[in-house]
Symmetry: C2
Subunit: 222 residues, 2 copies
């Protein structure tokens, strides 16, 4: 099987991926053909994974990922970069009625990393469903924690640092021990794992969100 993934090998969050070619028709199908002519395959975004029920994480999606993303039935996307979306992604969101929550966290490189805690906190509120409108300050803490933003995809450029910090803070709220949080963070960041990111998660204050019931996994229980 030969795939054109269009994924750069560099791991740095320098810029967002370019728009690339116009999106293929994605409704109801997949775009990548394998060796068998009658087979189609889905292409999840780079570093894609399920964080919890209705919460996904990934790197920056390109047009080859759109058929897969469509199968998720997303209600919202939490986008952690300041750059505007390429037109193809914006059109996809609009066509599928997916609400965009953008938090423009600048890319930084060590030793000048400065993840803004306030933006991570706001993104966390959206993830938890405390905020479910673009006008964050109007609805913050008004609504009960729920899943009305779910299914939600959290992503930055490579799904490593900014996304890793947000998911790490979510795990902290879910009362995972730090070593397990860092184990997960490092799985996605790989050789690009940053002590500064892990320190950010360690210091992140979840006390204002502690009344939020957010145990890991609301799987169908017996």
């Amino acid at each position: 099987m030969k795939l054109d993934k269009s994924r750069p090998d560099d791991d740095d969050d320098d810029t967002c991926l370019s728009a690339g070619p116009p999106p293929p028709p994605f409704a109801g199908g997949a775009v990548v053909n394998g060796g068998d002519c009658d087979e189609v395959y889905y292409v999840p975004p780079f570093n894609f994974a399920m964080v919890d029920n209705g919460i996904f994480r990934s790197g920056f999606p390109d047009t080859s990922n759109l058929p897969f993303l469509q199968t998720l039935g997303l209600r919202s996307v939490i986008y952690l970069c300041p750059e505007p979306y390429p037109e193809s992604i914006s059109e996809f969101l609009e066509a599928n009625g997916i609400h965009l929550f953008q938090f423009g966290i600048e890319m930084c490189k060590e030793p000048f990393v400065n993840i803004p805690a306030d933006l991570i906190r706001e993104a966390l509120k959206v993830t938890l469903g405390i905020c479910y409108s673009k006008i964050l300050h109007l609805c913050s803490l008004i609504c009960p924690t729920d899943t009305r933003n779910h299914p939600v995809l959290i992503h930055c450029k490579r799904g490593k640092h900014r996304t890793g910090c947000l998911v790490g803070c979510l795990r902290k709220l879910q009362k995972w021990c730090l070593s397990s949080i860092f184990d997960e963070y490092q799985r996605f960041a790989g050789v690009k794992a940053r002590i500064s990111d892990q320190r950010f998660v360690e210091l992140f204050d979840v006390s204002s969100l502690k009344n939020t019931p957010m145990q890991f996994s609301c799987s169908k229980k017996r």
Copy 2:
């Protein structure tokens, strides 16, 4: 925070972890205390992750992981090693009414790796809910695909090779392209990733299971 994780650093699937000390009281609580005396934290097993709704993966759990596993409300465990469980884990399963499906796949090291496709296929059927009894040959293909085995935890020793192969085959059934399957496999296997495992997944024949509706994620759709 100081944690005694009792996790060996070696990545080889040589033996299963020893039973260790007797299990702590885990009903309704967590075992690891952080710096704050009034805080408790959960300790997911090494390499723990959510594969799909109601499907989890991990390395071999130890007693420190039991409070976390209890929050998952597991119905079943798919255990991919031939060694018997330590008593602490067996007692946990029994006390929580968790059904054990054990598939004794021997640990192999390259270049002598020989993952048995028949066992992986049977384990895949349990994952999919096609089989939901210990007497696999009696119920195979009789029952419709469902989630009566879910929530289910798939694990081997390190959650890398045997678990990685099973999850890879599941992704193949979910029509993920091979490069995305390998991306996920490598995330968990890390530097221990094996070409032979990935080749196994590539060659694994899912045609007999193709009538099984198994699209990724049955998240709550709009």
